[in-house]
């Protein structure tokens, strides 16, 4: 679980079935387990109106567990980028009564939520559950480039090369934590790097 910090740092809950006509799940890697565990508490027929979109982790596991829930639609994608057009299309054609459930890594939850916000869903009405890696999606506040899967503190910007302090300050609009230059006064000062977002 992610530790509590400043108010902008997202906090996640436990997926729970909501009243609704359609249910859209977006999960990656171990996020599948959150969906499977929630399924033990759903009324019969719940998944008849559900769509599950899944991005398997490096170990390729858990897809079978989701298919076993017999959702109306099951779709697998190799990455968030590859499923984004489909997700946007689904949301653009959706009606009120669609409920959204996001589970897995923070990067996945954040990016799927970003697409949902653009479609007019309030972030507080989205069910989320964090599972798996704490790796962060980080925006460099200097060059605005996004670096994916940041696990260290500090971290190097993949775009401009600055050494950045990864803050808990999070932007829902761009779905990323903010990275601020850690040695702006003296670039020769290199603090030790620790792997803390595992």
């Amino acid at each position: 679980m992610a530790a509590k910090s400043i108010i902008s740092r997202p906090v996640y809950g436990t997926l729970s079935p909501q009243p609704g006509k359609h249910h859209l799940f977006v999960a990656d890697a171990e996020g599948a387990l959150a969906v499977a565990e929630m399924a033990e508490r759903t009324p019969p027929g719940f998944f008849d109106g559900a769509e599950i979109v899944f991005i398997p982790g490096p170990d390729g596991k858990h897809a079978a567990a989701l298919e076993a829930l017999k959702p109306a639609q099951f779709h697998q994608a190799p990455s968030f980028a590859s499923l984004q057009p489909r997700l946007r299309q689904t949301l653009a054609n959706a009606h009120m009564g669609l409920r959204l459930y996001l589970s897995g890594t923070e990067g996945l939850i954040g990016q799927a939520m970003q697409a949902a916000l653009e479609a007019g869903i309030d972030h507080t009405s989205i069910q989320t559950e964090h599972r798996g890696s704490l790796a962060r999606r980080m925006q460099c506040v200097h060059c605005k480039g996004i670096t994916e899967n940041v696990t260290t503190q500090p971290a190097t910007c993949a775009h401009c090369g600055l050494l950045l302090l990864v803050r808990d300050h999070y932007s829902r609009r761009i779905a990323a934590f903010q990275g601020v230059c850690i040695n702006a006064e003296d670039r020769s000062e290199i603090p030790p790097t620790e792997e803390i977002f595992r």
């Binding site: 009606h95 009120m96 007019g120």
Partner: protein
């Protein structure tokens, strides 16, 4: 003491009968200046000085928020109420000097919405008059479904049809026309927000169907000013100020507290905003809760009361006030 609101000295600039039950009142500032800006859904509390008695009733502003030269309200005559609406209908004439509060909005549009779906019942149309004017001016996407008893009591129905054409759908009770609510709610695009204003039963029905059909509570907005109901007189002890007061048949508990010289906070005086929430220290009897603020749990517990609209029947009531 009305929290965060200051009073405005106004003069009645026009009084226009709209139909058998509804009359419209126009207010301008006595000093000729523009009135404060407001947004669609806002209300003002109108002070009605009726001899010895002062009533304070909330009314939605129904004019366009783009025009702050005047405020307009529409008052439906209630022949069995506590007399506020009758006072407005019988006593208030052009030139009458009155005091109204600054506008307060407890029913504002969520401008992040992709679409605004509005459901009005009867005199509940008034906040939508202002909201539709606000949205139409900025090209907003809205749809208004308006239920009234008969065509002749469909206050502003013709005007709304004329202004917004097919964006307004009318339903007449006497012709047995009913909103197909489930179908309407299920066919709205994602990102729609729902607004409902009308009788309590209608609001409860719409909220219940919306929740069941999967509308998140953040997308469902409602406003129902509960008019304070008359009832049996009762005695109350105010523990903090050490006063014992009697609440008359036609008086609200809040009005009785104010008449005793105690100045509790208030904002809407209609059981909606929560400002006048008061702790109960002890009681022997039963509460008649009429507010929309406290939850069922609070109503059952007997620990809290909203003195603007709720009453009490029994032997004793002690309030932390």
């Amino acid at each position: 003491m009305s929290t965060g609101t200051t009073k405005l000295d106004v003069v009645v600039s026009d009084v226009v009968p709209v139909n058998d039950l509804v009359t419209r009142f126009h207010f301008r500032r006595r000093d000729g200046q523009l009135l404060p800006t407001f947004s669609g859904g806002a209300h003002v509390v109108v002070e009605m000085r009726d001899g010895e008695r002062t009533r304070l009733n909330p009314y939605s502003l129904m004019g366009s928020p783009l025009d702050t030269r005047e405020y307009t309200i529409s008052v439906r005559r209630d022949d069995v109420g506590r007399g506020g609406s009758l006072f407005m209908h019988r006593n208030v004439r052009p030139g009458h000097e009155m005091v109204v509060s600054y506008p307060v909005n407890l029913f504002s549009l969520d401008l992040r919405a992709k679409k605004h779906l509005m459901l009005a019942g009867g005199i509940g149309i008034t906040p939508f008059m202002a909201q539709t004017a606000q949205l139409a001016a900025e090209g907003g996407n809205f749809e208004l479904h308006y239920t009234c008893r008969t065509a002749s009591l469909g206050t502003y129905a013709d005007l709304l049809r004329e202004r917004y054409d097919r964006r307004v759908r009318l339903y007449h009770d006497d012709l047995d026309e009913r909103i197909e609510l489930d179908r309407l709610l299920s066919s709205q695009p994602l990102g729609t927000h729902l607004y409902v204003c009308g009788p309590g039963g209608m609001i409860n029905w719409v909220r219940e169907r919306a929740a069941t059909l999967g509308w998140p509570s953040e997308t469902v907005h409602f406003e129902h000013f509960a008019a304070p109901q008359p009832g049996l007189p009762f005695d109350v002890t105010l523990a903090v100020t050490g006063k014992t007061i009697r609440v008359d048949e036609q008086q609200s508990l809040l009005e009785a507290i104010e008449a005793a010289g105690v100045d509790p906070p208030y904002l809407c005086r209609g059981g909606v905003c929560g400002q006048c929430e008061t702790n109960v220290i002890s009681y022997d009897g039963k509460f008649i809760h009429n507010d929309h603020w406290l939850g069922e749990e609070d109503h059952r517990s007997g620990c809290k009361i909203m003195p603007c609209v709720s009453r009490f029947e029994g032997r004793s009531l002690v309030l932390e006030r």
